[in-house]
Point group: C2
Chain length 88, copies 2
């Protein structure tokens, strides 16, 4: 898996959960399949900018805003990002 | 061709030309093939977010900034965008 797809997936999951949406609900709103949204959240697929825009629209924001957060996620994560840190 | 790929291509070409770069120079800096950059500028390919990030980096900016301009391009273009208007 590419670090960028993992970073995108982490941002997507965080935004979806913050909006109180299910994967199924978000997928339906974006015109995507639920299993594809699930794979995206796990970082298993690299989305096109069209998929990113569909998801951003379904979350009530823009592609630039959503991917700006992915940029910042990448900056925070550094060279070896790990989207889920276990609690000590 | 999808309107979004055309909008991305128009922004990419404008930014590249503003930076005084050739397609070949930009492609080399981004780690992409020149013919692929040419197809992107013509709106003939829908890039992944990874390709968008590579091109943004080669242009000295971020994915969020580059795609934020594509968002605004889409807003300006309206429902039937046409990236090259002939002069009257």
């Amino acid at each position: 898996m590419h670090p960028l797809s993992q970073q995108f997936g982490a941002v997507l999951r965080r935004r979806r959960e913050a909006a109180g949406r299910s994967q199924e609900g978000l997928a339906a709103a974006a015109g995507l399949h639920r299993t594809y949204v699930s794979m995206l959240e796990r970082g298993e697929r690299m989305p096109s900018i069209l998929v990113a825009r569909k998801l951003a629209g379904a979350l009530g924001t823009t592609m630039g805003d959503l991917l700006g957060e992915v940029d910042r996620q990448a900056d925070d994560a550094g060279p070896a990002p790990h989207p889920r840190r276990p609690k000590p």
